[in-house]
């Protein structure tokens, strides 16, 4: 695994250098080394001599397409995984940037590692970590643990069947085989087994931890309203306090606004400091949209999401 990552990293740097040198783009947004083990950070590079700061490994978890809203007039070379590329396609359908403004450096993704799950599997603070083959080796003050990479993947990565970017201006690795590790999102399976009362209880418990930091909204490339409904004071849709109904209202509406627009990247859930489960809602909506409209976000560069358009053939079963 680490050899493949290394090869991808070299090609990202090479391509970045080329794009900056020949001025195809003004900046590259990729991943850089984090100051903590198991972490990377988005890295903005403008100088072709500094492309050595770009890296690739199994911890490149951010969806960088969220930065496209900040572009202004600049042209950007964006490092994207399969899910991120789907977000870019969804955003281009919503005309968020000019077609020649974004150059996609596509990485066929190895599925990203859930750093919090790794942290919980070891007895102390992780001070060093590296990947070796299909293992993650983590070390702390008085322990060294070898973990099987496959057991520590994000839920959204386990079900992913679009790891190779569908649209990219260049692919910096060989396409990967597109089969999911599990057929259904593990939490959706659990959720669907529950009775409506139990489902409500679960949702209530999860949303009760919300601190309204809106990190789930801010990291999501599809959340870009000039004024989010929670911030509107006229009309006021929602109070700003912590009554359960307000927290629940926020989470339901946030999920519903993603219908047919969510690429299932899981960035919202990864961002939450209170570890609120969020993707069981958005991924369930994705499954519904697939079933009802045969539509998947960011797969086609021409077809609009079902809720953005009307077709006389649309299913109308819900009208009784």
């Amino acid at each position: 695994m680490e050899e493949r990552s290394k090869a991808i990293q070299d090609r990202i740097r090479e391509k970045a250098k080329e794009l900056l040198s020949n001025k195809t783009v003004d900046l590259i947004i990729g991943f850089g080394e984090g100051s903590l083990p198991l972490r990377t950070t988005p890295r903005f590079i403008r100088n072709p001599e500094k492309v050595g700061r770009l890296i690739w490994n199994s911890f490149c978890e951010n969806n960088l397409s969220t930065y496209l809203h900040k572009l202004g007039q600049f042209k950007v070379g964006l490092v994207v995984k399969g899910c991120d590329a789907r977000s870019v396609i969804a955003l281009s359908l919503e005309k968020r940037f000019k077609p020649d403004q974004v150059f996609l450096i596509g990485v066929p993704c190895q599925r990203m590692v859930d750093r919090r799950k790794v942290s919980k599997a070891v007895p102390g603070e992780i001070l060093r970590a590296h990947e070796q083959g299909d293992q993650i080796i983590v070390e702390g003050e008085d322990f060294k643990t070898v973990l099987k990479r496959e057991d520590f993947l994000y839920p959204s990565c386990q079900v992913c069947i679009h790891r190779t970017p569908i649209k990219a201006d260049v692919l910096v690795g060989d396409p990967v085989e597109e089969s999911p590790l599990t057929e259904t999102h593990p939490e959706i399976m659990e959720f669907e087994k529950k009775s409506p009362e139990e489902r409500w209880k679960y949702f209530e418990k999860e949303s009760s931890r919300c601190i309204r930091c809106y990190a789930c909204r801010e990291v999501c490339p599809m959340c870009y309203c000039t004024e989010c409904f929670v911030d509107s004071s006229n009309p006021k849709w929602i109070e700003k306090g912590f009554s359960p109904s307000d927290l629940e209202f926020y989470h339901i509406v946030r999920a519903y606004h993603q219908t047919g627009r969510c690429s299932g990247c899981g960035a919202c859930e990864r961002a939450c400091p209170m570890e609120i489960r969020l993707t069981y809602l958005t991924q369930k909506l994705n499954l519904d949209v697939k079933e009802l409209f045969n539509f998947e976000t960011g797969i086609d560069t021409e077809i609009l999401p079902p809720l953005s358009t009307f077709d006389i053939e649309d299913k109308q079963d819900f009208i009784k």
Partner: protein, 349 residues
């Protein structure tokens, strides 16, 4: 006064406290996520986390607090005051950084010119039992920020984990009231030696690597620096770093109106939100993440020291751990320093 409490007596000790006091302590909500909460049963208390997600500030300055209610009687609005805190309170198991942060917030909320009664009421009624940090995390930099893993200041009682027992120090008048607590035993000389060892080990681990000293002066010259054009870039503008910060204390006051009645509520606010500085005219003096990130750092390391002679950062490391894009405040501090180590901008400190 040097005392100790056997760990097997901890629960009875807490149970005993709960008869007289409202007890607040760290509680794990789900695996890996803890906050300070009012305790109903000593079993809930979880001291295994070095730093809870949400800091102890919310015991004095809740994220959402009703200030008063109002009701329309005839044509007049009648104000119904909130009930005062009746019981004395204990904050148990807070770490030195969180406790130091409470004294930082106190400088703002309790002053000569004005006093925040909501904060003061809770502060006056609370006895603080601090807990030393035997195992500071790699993200902790309290020593650089003027504190240390065993800082006693602000605590009324101070606990140090000795393995089988807690070493107990009574530090203030409020603390001395516990002198005759039936669960406390007298400490032995070997306990003192162990305390010293634990302190030395923790001090060594935390170190003094982050150049917080002199940052106020450095930032004086940097208000219009191109530094701000770059440092904010990765910030997505969520509020995690401010809400989880033990010293951030901004709030927003809103009326939750229900026709004939309502309540005035104050909620935590964050300078990283565009709404924070949005004026009624529609003008926003801090229009982008650049100005907002600058505000966050300048407030902590320049404006606050100017007003109160102390940085508004205690080095708890929460903003580093929980930032979704891994913005590291230590690096931002390093970047302002002319003595920054080579390669620091590459993500290795």
């Amino acid at each position: 006064m040097k005392l100790k409490l056997n760990k097997k007596d901890l629960k009875p000790f807490l149970q005993n406290l709960m008869e007289e006091y409202d007890l607040f302590a760290p509680v794990q909500l789900v695996e890996g996520v803890s906050v300070f909460k009012k305790i109903d049963h000593p079993d809930e208390v979880d001291l295994s986390t070095s730093n809870t997600q949400k800091p102890a500030k919310e015991i004095f300055f809740p994220q959402s607090e009703v200030m008063f209610r109002y009701e329309k009687v005839g044509k007049q609005n009648q104000i119904i005051s909130m009930e005062e805190e009746k019981r004395e309170r204990i904050l148990f198991g807070a770490r030195p950084c969180d406790i130091e942060a409470i004294s930082i917030i106190e400088k703002v909320f309790v002053g000569e010119e004005c006093t925040d009664v909501y904060f003061l009421e809770k502060r006056k009624k609370t006895t603080i039992i601090g807990l030393g940090c035997n195992h500071p995390l790699s993200t902790c930099f309290c020593s650089s920020a003027g504190g240390d893993p065993f800082l006693r200041a602000g605590s009324d009682l101070f606990f140090i984990d000795l393995g089988e027992a807690y070493f107990v120090e009574l530090l203030t008048e409020k603390g001395m009231a516990f002198y005759k607590n039936k669960f406390f035993k007298e400490a032995e000389p070997k306990d003192l030696t162990l305390v010293k060892e634990l302190e030395e080990k923790a001090f060594e681990k935390v170190g003094y690597s982050i150049p917080v000293d002199g940052i106020e002066k450095r930032l004086n010259l940097m208000v219009e620096s191109s530094f701000w054009d770059r440092v904010h870039e990765i910030c997505v503008g969520c509020r995690i770093c401010t809400y989880l910060c033990p010293t951030c204390h901004c709030f927003d006051i809103v009326d939750e109106d229900e026709h004939q009645r309502g309540q005035r509520v104050r909620n935590w606010d964050s300078c990283l939100s565009p709404l924070y500085s949005l004026e009624t005219s529609g003008h926003n003096p801090r229009p982008t993440c650049r100005e907002r990130t600058r505000q966050r750092l300048m407030h902590k390391f320049n404006y606050f020291p100017k007003n109160f002679n102390q940085v508004a950062c205690v080095g708890c490391g929460r903003c580093i751990l929980y930032c979704p894009v891994h913005f590291d405040i230590r690096q931002a501090i390093l970047w302002t320093s002319p003595k920054r180590p080579r390669g620091s901008e590459r993500g290795t400190i």
